[in-house]
Amino acid sequence: MEQSNKPHRKSRDNKSTAKKKLHTQGHNAKAFAVSAPGKMARQMQRSSDKNEKKLHVPMVDRTPDDDPPPVIVCVVGPPGTGKTTLIKSLVRRMTKTTLTEIKGPITVVSGKNRRLTFLECPADDLNSMIDVAKIADLVLLMIDGNFGFEMETMEFLNLAQHHGMPRVLGVATHLDLFKSQSTLRASKKRLKHRFWTEVYQGAKLFYLSGVINGRYPDREILNLSRFISVMKFRPLKWRNEHPYLLADRITDLTHPDLIQSKGKQIDRKIALYGYLHGTPLPSVGGTKVHIAGVGDFSISQVEKLPDPCPTPAFQQKLDEYERLKLKEEGSNSSSTPTVRRRKRLDDKDKLIYAPMSDVGGVLMDKDAVYIDIGSKKVNNSQSFVPGQEKGQGEQLVTSLQKVDRSIAENFKNVGLQIFSNGIELHKVDKKGEEEEEDANEEEEINSELDQGRSSLRKPKIYGKSVQEDDLDIDNLPSDEDEDDNVDGDKELELVEIDFHDQNDEKLVPETDSEFELSDGENEETWERAMAGKLNNEIKRKRRWNIGKLIYMENISPDDCIRRWRGEDEEDEEDLEESDIEDDEDFFKKKQTNNTDSKNGQNTEIADLEKFIPYFDTFEKLVEKWSDLSSIRNRFIGSTRSNSADDSNSMDEEEEEVFGDFEDLEADDQENVEEESNNNNNESDDSFADFEEEEKKDLTMEEERKLNAEKKEKFRLQFEIEEGDNFKEDDPDNEYDTWYELQKAKMAKQLEINKAELEEMTPEQRQKIEGFKAGSYVRIVFDDVPMEFIENFEPRFPIIMGGLLPTELKFGVVKARLRRHRWHKKILKTNDPLVLSLGWRRFQTLPIYTTSDSRTRTRMLKYTPEHTYCNANFYGPLCAPNTPFCGVQIVANSDTSGGFRIAATGVVEEIDVDVEIVKKLKLIGYPYKIFKNTAFIKDMFSSAMEVARFEGAQIKTVSGIRGEIKRALSKPEGYFRATFEDKILMSDIIILRSWYPVHIKRFYNPVTSLLLKQKTEWKGVRLTGQIRAALNIPTPSNPDSAYKKIERSDRHFNGLKVPKSIQKELPFKSQIHQMKPQKKKTYMAKRAVVLGGEEKKARSFIQKVLTVSRAKEEKRKAKKADQRKERLKRLAKAEEEKLQKDKEKKKEFFAKNGKKRPYGDDDGGARKKR
């Protein structure tokens, strides 16, 4: 037979090459195909995961962009890890200043727009750690490379996490102590990974090797400082809702006479200085704030001071402003040559401000400047200005240094008030009292002020003496007055220096007397003068400003209205009346008003409870509205009645087509038409002009200008934007995601805020906005405990946080709480716990509860081990969702070295009271049982008690349910009950009841800053501590103790059927009992004693058997092993076989199954048949 080969199959078409095949679809199929779909899907998944991870809940960042507050950089770590060295190195790197000691915060300029406040967190104080965690923007977490993470580090990280987690940079130090490179590397890696688990994957950890010249290596510090300077910060919720301040200076303003006369123990008046952070601080007095570690206070006075450490950008702005002024005036004083800015920071700009440490040397107060000319080791023969002779003033000043009180020690003795050329040299002992000096003297001083300045440092640190109590001067509203503007022009030199020279006061218009008396708050003088200048161009008509009038409390509302509407005939004279007269006026007016109807207001309107507004009489209204033309433009289609022209209909068409946006223009066009047709001046916007002007030929510039105006107008209109882009439901708004939309909305709102605020004059702005973040303020408090001042130690940070209305109230906070898993013990209900909630730290007595399927809140004696429970405690309220942490002990002497953070949680709800119950089980015993009824004893002691519980559910231990029926008269407290089944005498009857638990209203703020030993604050002791101290044993109910359960075997007696009954029973039920055997058995008959050979044989046999049994056992074990092996092998083989089969099948079907064309199917079937 001849071999038959498969004939060559010809290709169907000529597109045979692979390349050509790829292009069958008109494009290269490979180029658009997915080669590995699984991989691609994974990639896409990952990238979208990453994007999603980046998203945060959109939050408004309320930190101002221009001149933001310094970034608070906290250096935290256990003692001896090199915190001070790090700050010194960083400060040296940034300002070229070598610090000798670090006390309190240090503010340095680090970039064109950035300042940093370095703060060293005392390593040994938990309170400070808590406070610092609340305000830090950036934490430099010092880790000793040799020890790894220490307890303080872990504690701090956990604290920080529960107060909004600032940015954390790890800094590992002491790495030079590693001998070998490999251990160094290994430990670096270990540290890094441990740090990542604590912070986040990929968190930056710096390594600092050794200390050279008391500093870390310059290169490493440079890297670190660069890293810090480019760092971005996310707004944190709590800080975005509260104003706060890290005090970098504190002074005691109490009158020394008072201290002398009444003793040291009187409450003090103090001033805190610092940069504001967070939201703006309201400018009205009496704002409630909390000073951490001291208590709640209401601010008695705030004022903005010139920035002691301005950023170059801010300075540049000021300089530019000055230059402009100079240009305008011609140079009359060239004391400050204008400087051209460079990209790098000038040495001059590298400012440092650390009033508590002895650097920088310049302190600014409201009314004085204090210059610290260095510690005593500074060579006294040198002048302030290098290369110059010491002036007389300077000599005097330096000579004063020899006074034996050191500056840093005693703040009351800090500095010297420098006045011009040393003629007026004051040694200032107490800052507080010099304000009390008479005004004349101060004015003299003021007049001579500007000359003295040239020899001083460059900064804007000029003083002015203002009396502490001259609120009325402070209160002058100067913005509106042209007089002030003139004033501002004259003294451009003194920009932020001295606004209170005589002419200023002279120029205050008399009419303002009312303003002075009306509002009792301080206005910022410095701001005010700036305002005057900025306001130069604004020309205002001499007329009453309604915005002002409204808030002048001494003018009655109707008077306000009349003055504002200009209906007062006797205007000028009347205005100059004193407010007493005004008050009389007020009384008079009431009567006159009745008759006075020209303005349409009468006394009825004063009844504010009336909802319906005032209307004229019916007749007048009829008369007035006989002609509707005046309000016709308020209605749609108003033009239709006048001129039914086609443009209007076209508008409507457009409206339908384009929706809201066109609607705008439609309005405009309507307006245009009105203007032309109606001769009605009520058109709504300036568009009308635009349209009109368009008719005349406009030049390109004009048109552009008009377009720009139009744009500007739309820029700040939220609603229009909303119509355009912000429609959330609209699927084709220009934002892809909800997130983007929210972001855009926020940005828009911020822009509006900024624009609106910029429109106001500075003091209006301050009134509306408050003191915004970034301003350097002085905040005065009255009645601060004297211990705060007496025991002040700059090492511990002073933090002031603003309080929201809710936080002023006290009540019960319901929170979700969990014992920290690193804390060794569980927490006990009503054991004191120090909570750090909001700004406050306080001790309270929480009651831990759980919710029994949401029907009741049941008390728990202890927190559960590993899960959340609820905690209810009395304290200041705080908005839900606020996280907090709790510690049991803050005093260092009481801690045993364990992890101190006992609990963490989050506020869930606030209320004035809460209903908590605890379970109370009453038990009784049956003493007589009928079928379903039983009589129970020992549960109650009187029939009255039983009556209270009649109908209550009871239960036996075995689970039989029942009900209390009735008290028995005889044995007191016994009762009848019914059950669903017969109970046993051995049953215990349980009545489950709920007993209300009341929260103890205990709130004990941790006033650690008032102590001499700040780390030793001790509050209410824990129960255990008290027991230990008083040697009281822990009470224990013997019933509650866990004992070994001894269950005796239950012995059941045999069934004994009486003979008489047995007889009667039928055979089937007869109890069959064998008679006891009487014969002795075979074995019993014989006593076998082995002996001799038999015994030997038997023992031998036994031995042999034992050996053989052991052998057998061994064999069996081996066999079992072998069997196991075999089974395994078999299973493997089986699997292989399966695999093979599968492959075969696959192959087969690949070959056969596919090849067969679809239509071939029946053919195949036929073949089979």
Binding site: E241, P557, I561, F615, R640, P805
Partner: protein
């Protein structure tokens, strides 16, 4: 500026009584109101004011109210707003509107949803009627993000005997009111209204409608007034009739006027009076009417710490307005910034208010 101030914010006089109590609750600051009608022949709190305080006590938890012996001084320490369901029997001296109106300030910020049933008179000459609240005040709330609020009229009860029943349901509990911006005078697209009657002939209603339509016909926009005649046991105890007119805009701003008729009034006159009042109100206002202003401003004040803007007409700055702003300043410390509208042709003002950043802390987190 000493810190030895009294712990209360002190007010004098009976004016703005409800608002002061409301502001105190919202701000959490205790207030003391002195000299309540101290010069009056009948000094002290009136029965409706006491009834109002009862209502406040019912919807808040932990409020303490101390009324002096003469009733001329009260000390109010606010608690937290809890809401819930409650039935309030209003005295016949004031209509339910007097009690419903202040609830609108509190309802969105409570712990539980508000569901209050008010029984009493549903209309009066001086206080808000049902339609005024439904069509005038609730839309204002909607602008601030309170979307689910409704006032259901179960029964109408005309003065003097009343017998009406309204149900206020506020289902949306919001954390913060939305910051609102309205700088343009919205164009009125239609005027709608309701003329109602209880226990009188339905022809009165139609006559009122005719009277109103006659006045409004020249305006040229759609006027749609519905008749609402109440009969049987749902119509209260006394005969009465009235009309409420509302001007509608595309942006859902409403300006309204209402009038009720007394015995002896001519229905056409009442209808046309309401229409004239509406015209007057429109001419006197920019975006919202005078009686909506307090609600809008208070919501703006307690808004986010952003700047909200609202255009008002010059005519809206009256004594009520000033007293309102002074009270707000007294309690919240916020001032309102008034600036003239950049629009050269109108003498409108723009109120600029920075919210105090109030948040609803009463609500439980899920």
């Amino acid at each position: 500026m000493s810190s030895k101030k009294s712990p209360f914010k002190v007010f004098q006089g009976s004016q703005n009584f409800r608002l002061r109590v409301i502001l105190s609750i919202l701000s959490g600051k205790p207030i003391k109101i002195e000299k309540i009608r101290s010069d009056d022949l009948n000094p002290g709190l009136k029965d409706f004011e006491v009834s109002f305080l009862r209502l406040i006590e019912a919807v808040t938890n932990g409020s303490s109210i101390e009324i002096s012996y003469t009733g001329t001084t009260i000390i109010f320490k606010p608690g937290i707003i809890v809401g819930g369901s409650y039935t309030h029997n209003c005295p016949t001296s004031k209509p339910v509107g007097y009690f419903v109106e202040p609830m609108l300030y509190l309802a969105p910020f409570s712990k539980k949803k508000f569901s209050l049933l008010f029984r009493g008179v549903t209309a009066s000459h001086n206080d808000a009627g049902i339609e005024a609240i439904k069509w005038g005040l609730l839309p204002i709330l909607e602008k601030f993000g309170v979307r689910e609020c409704a006032l259901h009229t179960l029964k109408r009860g005309s003065p003097p005997l009343g017998g009406g029943e309204v149900h206020l349901v506020v289902d949306s509990l919001i954390a913060q009111p939305i910051t609102m911006h309205e700088l343009d005078r919205p164009v009125i697209t239609a005027i709608k209204g309701v003329a109602y009657s209880t226990r009188v002939s339905p022809s009165l209603v139609n006559r009122m409608i005719d009277g109103a339509k006659k006045v409004l016909k020249d305006i040229g926009c759609e006027v749609n007034i519905t008749a609402d005649v109440w009969r049987g046991e749902n119509s209260g105890k006394s005969p009465g009739w009235g009309i409420t007119l509302v001007s509608e805009t595309k942006k859902n701003w409403y300006i309204f006027a209402e009038c009720i008729g007394d015995a002896g009034d001519v229905p056409e006159d009442i209808g046309s009076k309401a229409a004239y009042h509406l015209l007057e109100e429109i001419s006197n206002s920019a975006v919202i009417g005078r009686n909506q202003l307090p609600l809008a401003i208070v919501y703006m004040v307690i808004g986010k710490e952003d700047i909200g803007r609202l255009r008002i007409a010059k005519g809206q700055i009256d004594e009520k307005f000033i007293i309102l702003l002074r009270d707000i300043k007294h309690i919240f410390g916020t001032e309102v910034f008034l600036k003239e509208c950049p629009d050269p042709d109108s003498d409108d003002y723009i109120i600029t208010i920075k919210g105090i950043g109030f948040t609803n802390a009463n609500k439980k987190i899920a």
